[in-house]
Structure formats: C-alpha cells, structure tokens
C-alpha cells in the first residue's frame, strides 16, 4: 500500500458491488415499475401507457384482495409458529455446552441443503391420498382416511418446515450474545424460569426476534413452490398467482402490478415492525 488516498481505495472496493446492485436490482425494479403502468391487450399483449388501472383492478376485485389476505395470514401464522417452535430449540443450542452442540447446529442447517420443491414433494408423499399418514390411518382403523394435502394446513406445515432453520439460526446467535450470568443474576434475585424469560431473556432477545421474524415473514410472503404443490388448485397465494398472470395469461403489466403490491405490503409491515421493536427496545 503506497500513498494512495484512502477514499480512492474505499471507492475501488465498494464500486463493483454498487454497480452490481444498480444493474441487477435498481434497474429491473424501475423497468418493472414502468411495466406495471402499461396496458394489457388480448391481441397485442402489452401496450405503452401510463395508467393506474392494473393496481385499481387488483384493489377492487375481492378475489385478488382475498389472495393478498390469504398470503398475509399464512405468512403471519408461519412466522408466529416459527418463533414458538424456534425459540426453545435456539435457546437450547445457544446454552448447550455439550460436545453434541455442533451436531445439533448441523441438524438445523441440514434441511437447507434440500430445495423447497423437493421438500414439498416429500410432504406430498406424507400427506397425500395413499401417503404415509393416510395408509397409517387406514391400517389402524379400516375405512378411514386422512386427506391433509391441498389444505392450508399442508401449506403452513410446508412453509414452517422450510423457514424454521432460518429462525433458529438467527435466534441462536442472538441468545449466545446474552451473558448467561445475567440469567443467573435474575435467578439469584428470586426470578423463577417464566419470570426470567419475561423480564430478562425476552427483552434482550427482542432485536434478534425481530430480525428472525422479518426474515421468515419475507420468505413466507414470497413462497412459491410450497403453496403451489401443497395448496392445490383452489388455494391461492401471491407468488404463484403472479407467475400465472405473467407466464400463462401473458399479462405482464398486471403481473408487474401484483409484484409491486406484494413488495410494498411486505416492506410496509417489515418497516412497521422494526420501528415498533426499536421504540420498545429504547423504552424498555
């Protein structure tokens, strides 16, 4: 390193990443925004225009808003379940001093090696007609059947199984950052388990909970393969619907509008929850 100015070095290091972000993220988004304002025509497909009609069509049609609501509640429910199931696992892993700890972490990471489509197919084998659960039920009490595939339950289960590792890993690193002595201090001062959790662990883990929740919420909002394969034909979520408008109906302007509505909803909720957590964290 000779007498090169610091600013120049920093610029050279940040430059490629900045160009990549501009080229691969900002430009397509601008293009998408422009597309969403075009008009669709059955014969000509996309016609240059500047119209809000694609957004209006989505917002006044109860079918589309219904899909948005379904997506929202599935995402919120899976996020809540991820927290509920993920926290105890993350806490155990974070506080473990056993030599099996790294094996436990590996076990959490392992499912991430398998794509969501493959795992959805696996769930179909478990939940479907003639699948694992169905045949087990039939064997136990002949004549009965369990058909869980193509239900919201199957979708929630599928998304939960995909998102849980992200939540566990995020929470684990945050809980490891909380001094175990702080919990012992609370213990010696008279706080039993539930009160230690409420007054000490929970407030200190809150930033991590927010990060993990935002992460899995965004993943759930944008889930594609899981709702498509486990939800069945009548179950609609935003990402599969977007793809159908784009690829099957060739309605690029409307697909672009759906993409923006999905993105804005996700961003708004994420920003709102972060602001809430930050306020709470400062006040606490």
């Amino acid at each position: 390193m000779s007498a090169r100015p610091r600013g120049l070095t920093a610029g050279l290091l940040v430059g490629p990443a900045t160009l990549l972000v501009m080229g691969a993220l900002v430009a397509p988004l601008l293009l998408l925004a422009r597309t969403s304002l075009n008009r669709y025509d059955r014969t000509q497909f996309m016609v240059e225009a500047l119209t809000p009609e694609n957004y209006a069509r989505f917002l006044v049609d109860p079918f589309y808003t219904g899909v948005l609501w379904t997506t929202l509640w599935i995402a919120l429910l899976t996020t809540a379940l991820c927290l509920l199931f993920g926290f105890p696992i993350a806490y155990r892993l974070a506080r473990s001093q056993s030599r099996w700890k790294s094996a436990g972490v590996l076990l959490v990471i392992l499912p991430l090696f398998i794509g969501s489509t493959v795992r959805a197919l696996g769930w179909m084998g478990v939940l479907g007609r003639g699948g694992l659960l169905d045949s087990a039920a039939a064997a136990l009490s002949p004549g009965s059947s369990v058909a869980l595939l193509y239900t919201p339950f199957a979708v929630v289960l599928g998304i939960l199984s995909i998102n849980l590792p992200y939540m566990v890993l995020t929470l684990q690193s945050v809980i490891e950052g909380i001094d175990a002595r702080v919990e012992e201090a609370a213990d010696s001062l008279g706080a039993d388990g539930p009160r230690r959790f409420l007054h000490v662990v929970l407030p200190l883990a809150l930033p991590g909970i927010a990060t993990g929740a935002v992460l899995v919420f965004i993943l759930a909002m944008n889930a594609y393969a899981t709702p498509l394969l486990l939800g069945g034909a009548r179950f609609q979520m935003m990402a599969p619907m977007l793809f159908r408008e784009y690829a099957v109906n060739n309605n690029w302007p409307f697909a672009a509008a759906i993409a923006f509505i999905l993105m804005i909803t996700t961003l708004t909720l994420t920003a709102a929850s972060s602001a809430f957590v930050q306020r709470r964290y400062k006040a606490a």
Binding site: R181, V182, E184, A185, D187, S188, L189, D192, Y281, A284
Partner: protein
C-alpha cells in the same frame, strides 16, 4: 457450641471423571466474611456456585440456619450474588436493576421505593438512578451489582471475584467499601478470589484451596505464621521451600552442605519453609549464622532489597532486607554472606506435607 449459621459439610462435585471439589467442610458464623482463596481451577468458584445453587453438589450438604438447602433452586435461596462480570441487566436502569429482586418478591411500592433510596445511598449512586449500566464506569457498575444483591437483604452475600475486573488503583478502595458495607449490615459473606492481598484485606477468615480440597482454614495470622503445609506456606506470602534431611540440629541439603536449624526435630526427610523477610543477613563467622551463602543478585525495590542467594549446594533462597533510608545494598553479586533467622520463623514439614513438631532438646 451453638450451630454455625452456614455449614458446608463434605461438599463434593464431580464432572464426569474429574473431581472439581472434594469433601469441603466449612462453618461460617453469622456476620462473618469468609474468603475462599486459591489458584485458578482449585474448586473455589465451583464451591461458591454450589452454595448459590447454580451447580448441584454430587455429595455433601449445605445447611443454612440448620436447614438443608439441597435441591433448592437459586431463586428460593435468598442469597445475593455479585458476579465477576457484574451481570447487570443491560436493558434496565440502575434503579430498575436494584429493585429487580424486590419486584420479584412483590414488595409494596412504598417499601420498594424506600429500600431503593436507602440502597443507592449506601453505595453512593443516588444521582445515577436513571442511567443505564453502559453509561457507568466499571467501579460504578460494580456498586450497582452490590446494591442489587444487598437490596434483597440476603441471608448470605456471595461474591465471585468481585474486584478482578477493576483497575488496580480502584481495587483497594472498593475492597474497603465492600468490607465496610458488609460489616455495617452485619451480613454473612462468602467471597472467592485468587488474589492474596484482596483476601487478606477483606476476610475475617480465609480458606485456602488447592486441587479441589481445603488446605487450611484460619485467620490471616494463622495462615501466615502457622501454615499447615508447604502449599499454604508458598501460596500465602511466598515462602522459600528448601528440601533436605533433618539430622541432629541441621538440615542436610541434597547436593551437599547443611543449614543449622533453630529447633530440634525428628530426623528424616523434610522441607523447610522460611519467608524472605524473616531471613536476615549476618557476618558469615557470626554465632547466629545458619549457613554461608553466595550472593547472586541484589535488587533495590523500595521497601526492601531483594537478594537472590545460593545455598552451599546451589539451591536458591530469596531474602528481603528492609531498607531504612540510610543505605541501599549491603552486598553485591559475588559476595559471601551469612544468613540467620529465629526459631519462630522456621517451619518444617515432613515428606507428607504435615508440620514437624519441635522436640525439646534433651537436657545435657
């Protein structure tokens, strides 16, 4: 004699194949400050954590006011703990930290407020009540940790290396503050430290531990003047330990030569323990001289001159010669000198580490 306030009996902790604490017995009177002292890994912290209830004992009992505390979780023990890292609640103000234990006890609001004011006054932190721990200095955080433990009016105050995260120049002052508060409140306290000076300053009685076992229990004077074994002799005040064989009134050195002893002991293998400040220089030909030594090094360190001496067989011995303002070193490297000491300063241990008794000389 009445039952002690806190009794630890046969306390043992095994982690797998290793035994961290082995049969610790200790009685603590009410209002007494007992300090567990020892090198790292000696089991002192494990012992304290068993008393606090964070670690379950493998064997033995902990009795407080005659009641067996086995199986009682920490939050039901009424023991105030001060941690080495302070372990303050980072998301709570000083005031919220201090009243945490009172909130857990659902104390009435008025009493909580009164105790908060009183406790903050005690540790001189009233002005800091609304600060967060991260806005305080190390010494202030330490006092919050102490206040938080004192606020619950604990049956026993437990201190785990409370001074080791403080600057050296703060330690003495904080040590005296803690001691003052403990005395004023008449609190029974159990403290752990690896620092001998800290232990000497703060304790009513000390417990020296090594390799999981108690080496000696006693006051500062007892440990210093009458160490129970070579380990205590070396750990408290850094004694010279010289191995040899007692024959007549001399200690024969393994490499040849001998030291004249002040007392008479049973013959056999023995270790002489003698403190650097209890050995004095004497002319080699003087009647009191117990050996002639070679001066290898002499360093002026202020309160005394530290001499590194070689005994006839080459064994090293350290001698502290107090300075009196008149002169510095009386000998330089290469000089020959005599050394002397009194009977009261001499302590011999047998090969098993037990003190050798003095034998009254047979009347001639």
């Amino acid at each position: 004699m009445s039952e002690p306030y806190l009794r630890i009996a046969g306390l043992t902790k095994r982690f797998g194949a290793t035994t961290a604490v082995r049969g610790v017995d200790l009685d603590v009177r009410q209002g007494e400050m007992v300090v567990l002292l020892g090198p790292s890994g000696c089991g002192k912290t494990t012992t304290l954590r068993m008393v606090a209830g964070f670690i379950e004992a493998s064997e033995g009992r902990i009795l407080l006011e005659g009641r067996d505390y086995a199986g009682l979780p920490p939050h039901r023990r009424e023991m105030g703990m001060v941690f080495q890292s302070y372990a303050l609640f980072p998301h709570m103000t000083v005031a919220a930290n201090v009243i945490f234990g009172l909130r857990m006890r659902r104390l009435p609001r008025a009493e909580t407020e009164a105790r908060l004011a009183e406790t903050l006054e005690m540790v001189k932190l009233t002005a800091m009540a609304d600060r967060y721990p991260r806005q305080l200095s190390g010494g202030q955080q330490q006092r919050v940790a102490l206040a938080r433990a004192l606020a619950i009016r604990p049956k026993v105050l437990l201190l785990d290396e409370p001074l080791s995260n403080l600057d050296a120049n703060l330690r003495q002052q904080v040590a005296r503050e803690i001691r003052g508060l403990q005395r004023a409140a008449g609190l029974t306290a159990l403290m752990v430290t690896h620092d001998q000076d800290e232990a000497m300053t703060m304790a009513d009685r000390l417990v020296v531990m090594n390799e999981g076992t108690v080496q000696q229990v006693g006051t500062q004077e007892e440990l210093y003047e009458r160490p129970a074994n070579p380990f205590v002799a070396r750990f408290i005040g850094h004694s010279n330990l010289i191995a040899g064989t007692v024959a007549g009134d001399a200690l024969a050195l393994p490499g040849g030569g001998a030291l004249r002893l002040a007392g008479h002991y049973a013959p056999g293998t023995a270790t002489l323990a003698i403190r650097p400040e209890r050995v004095r220089l004497a002319p080699p030909e003087a009647a009191e001289a117990r050996a002639t030594v070679l001066v290898e090094d002499a360093t002026y360190v202020g309160a005394h001159v530290e001499y590194l001496l070689a005994l006839p067989d080459g064994t090293r011995l350290i001698l502290h010669d107090p300075t009196d303002g008149g002169g510095g070193r009386r000998h330089a490297a290469g000089d020959r000198a005599g050394i002397a000491w009194d009977l009261a300063s001499e302590r011999l241990f047998d090969s098993a580490g037990a003190p050798l008794a003095l034998r009254t000389p047979i009347a001639a």
